[in-house]
Amino acid sequence: MSIVHSNTMPDTVNQAMNHSPRIEQCFAALKQQNRPALVSYLTAGDPDADTSRRLLHGLPSAGVDIIELGMPFSDPMADGPAIQKAALRALNNGQTQAKTLEMVRHFREENSTTPIVLMGYYNPIFCYGVERFLADAARAGVDGLIVVDLPPEHDEELCTPAAQHSIDFIRLATPTTDAKRLPKVLANASGFIYYVSVAGVTGGSAPTSERLESSVAKLREHTELPIAVGFGIRTAEQAATIGRFSDAVVVGSALVDCIENANTPDEAVERVHGLVSELAESVRACREVEERMEEQLSV
């Protein structure tokens, strides 16, 4: 077991294998390189099954470190217009939970290292059947889950069973999560912590980085899990700023907008992978200035 996770293991759970090795290895490797992870969000099946598959398969080579794949839901209460529309495009083109899992399985045939985190809402999982879903997800090669409407109060629904399948349950911490509540939020979290940078829905306004930096620092006092920051990050510049003090930056709506704004599937693929490359370049370089300064100081 790694040092990173040892503090956060709930002792009631099987100690052998209850978290995803891929996520852990990914962050360990990036720590060596002293750079944050680039996490992309796309909705599975958006704009259609075929294009979505091409988008997914091209993400690692374009520079994504961790893939969040949205499970479309008809009523995405925590999402802004961009991701709402993405879900509708996917559903209108026949996307289902089974097809989303199939996409992951197919991806795993050619990529065994890039972590995949499925993100969405509880109802489609509940209707699929929790045990069946977890078994199929583990078999397909899913590493983690982010389920927006399952707070720690409902851990017995999915979070606890997921650990039995070595699937991480990635918890959201938000600006409203106060010190009193934080231990509860962190208790059964695994993989990484997703810090929601602003109170609001996806695709909203960008956070101010000073406040964000101190929030992330406060969070670090309570957890040794890597901290990803998301919501409102659209540009390479923002990613670089936030990547200086976080372990991962998540970009979603900006990528989804590329699909919305494209006239053809080819154009969608080109635009998404193009933006990913820009973001990747920027997160790779974001700590270099500091590094150089530190080197100079230590000489």
Binding site: F73, S74, D75, P76, M77, A78, G80, Q84, L91, T96, Q97, Y121, Y122, N123, P124, I125, F126, C127, Y128, V148, D149, L150, P151, E153, H154, R171, L172, A173, T174, P175, T176, T177, D178, R181, V185, V196, A199, G200, V201, G204
Partner: protein, 409 residues
């Protein structure tokens, strides 16, 4: 025979669960606020000063108690059970919705909130919310689906007159569920200063219990009014069910009286078999939406499907979690009435009693039309006349106008 269990006292549990239904399925951003609301509400419930204020506004502002009226002509017309109408349509703003809004706005004040938001379907909850917001001097934003804006023009104008801002919601089918999604998005974005007045017994805990408690005044009054009139409890209670607030308000104080039969009437649209309906219990399956687990209209992949009803206030693909539980406990019987049956009962009520009911309420009356004739005169049947139908004139004219030589309103 109904089970003589103590149904009313203990539920929901500390996690907001009615059996396996209910709960708090919301984003983390909202959790601290929901927990705070729960604490505030628990305090208010036991605070004599809060209760005094509530009673004052229910009396002098809303106009409570509402009468329990013996509908002599309807009774004659159906030729069976004695029919009593609990006249919630006589409340200020014309429906039961304000019972809840008064309670919640007092809570919002107590919590120091500066802004009120709400979702609305028929517009009755929107009007009631805009009303209390005006009374307490709070800015108010109402989310309303574009389909509903179309069919409830009068209420849209009323809300505007009362100073509310109406935000049209185009997503989905532009009905109540979509308005609720959008209100939740607003809330998550403005958690610090905003109070969300949910209009029915849905949403995350503590809303289903809190809204129920504010609406239970209907049942408490009915109980003492019937005891006064007839010296005994009613034999049956009938109410329409959208989210279920007027129904639970009437039922709740009688849950532990096994001899009182209760019937909730869902919107059957074009018929439950047609797939075009809003009958979550009769035509749905358990799932999780808008913060709670309940029966939902959904496909096998857990995608919510569209509800269909002639009445905007029943056009919702879910139902309050307590109803889901009462359904599984078999304490309440849930039936459905179609659009056509509701329209027919609507006209009967107009002509027999001189009361124009809301189209929502007409669904309850449609069940009465089926049930009352089979029962003896000694059977005391109470119908929650949840609202008046002025708001529905455009819709009704659209469906029945030809019959009266009216083309368009």
């Amino acid at each position: 025979m109904n089970q003589p269990v103590d149904l009313s006292k203990s539920l929901p549990d500390a996690n907001g669960l009615f059996g396996s239904f209910g709960g708090r399925f919301v984003a983390e951003t909202l959790m601290p606020l929901i927990l705070e609301l729960q604490d505030e509400y628990t305090t208010a419930k036991n605070d004599p000063e809060f209760q005094r204020q509530l009673a004052y506004f229910q009396g002098d502002y809303v106009g409570r108690p509402s009468p329990l009226y013996f509908a002599e002509r309807l009774t004659e017309h159906f030729g069976g059970a004695s029919i009593y109408l609990k006249r919630e349509e006589l409340n200020h703003t014309g429906a039961h919705k304000i019972n809840n809004c008064i309670g919640q706005v007092l809570l919002a004040k107590q919590m120091g909130k500066k802004r009120i938001i709400a979702e609305t379907g028929a517009g009755m909850h929107g009007v009631a919310t805009a009303t209390v917001a005006a009374r307490f001097g709070l800015p108010c934003v109402i989310y309303m689906g574009t389909t509903d804006i179309e069919r409830q023009q009068t209420n849209v104008f009323r809300m505007k007159l009362l100073g509310a801002e109406i935000i049209p919601v185009t997503s989905g089918t532009g009905t109540l569920k979509d308005a609720m999604n959008e209100a939740l998005r607003d809330w998550v974005t403005n958690v610090d200063d905003t109070f969300y007045i949910i209009g029915t017994v849905a949403g995350p805990h503590p809303y289903p219990a809190m809204v129920r408690d504010f609406q239970a005044v209907i049942g408490h009054e009915t109980r003492s009014q019937m005891l006064e009139k007839k010296g005994r409890l009613p034999d049956s209670l009938v109410a329409c069910v959208g989210g279920g607030s007027n129904a639970i308000g009437l039922f709740y104080p009688f849950l532990d009286d096994p001899d009182v039969q209760m019937i909730g009437v869902e919107a059957g649209g074009k018929g439950v078999k047609s797939g075009l309906h809003a009958a979550s219990l009769n035509g749905g399956t358990p799932g999780v939406l808008h913060g709670n687990r309940t029966y939902l209209l959904q496909n096998e992949d857990g995608q919510i499907t569209d509800a269909h009803s002639i009445s905007a206030g029943l056009d919702y693909p879910g139902i309050g979690p307590e109803h889901a539980w009462l359904h599984e406990q078999k304490r309440v019987e849930y039936v459905s009435a179609t659009d056509d049956e509701a329209l027919e009962a609507f006209q009967v009520c107009c002509r027999q009693e001189g009361i124009i009911p809301a189209l929502e309420t007409a669904h309850a009356l449609a069940e009465v039309a089926k049930r009352a004739p089979t029962l003896p005169r000694e059977h005391l049947m109470v119908i929650n006349l949840s609202g008046r139908g002025d708001k529905d004139m455009t819709s009704v004219a659209h469906h029945l106008g030809d019959k009266f030589g009216v083309k368009n309103l």
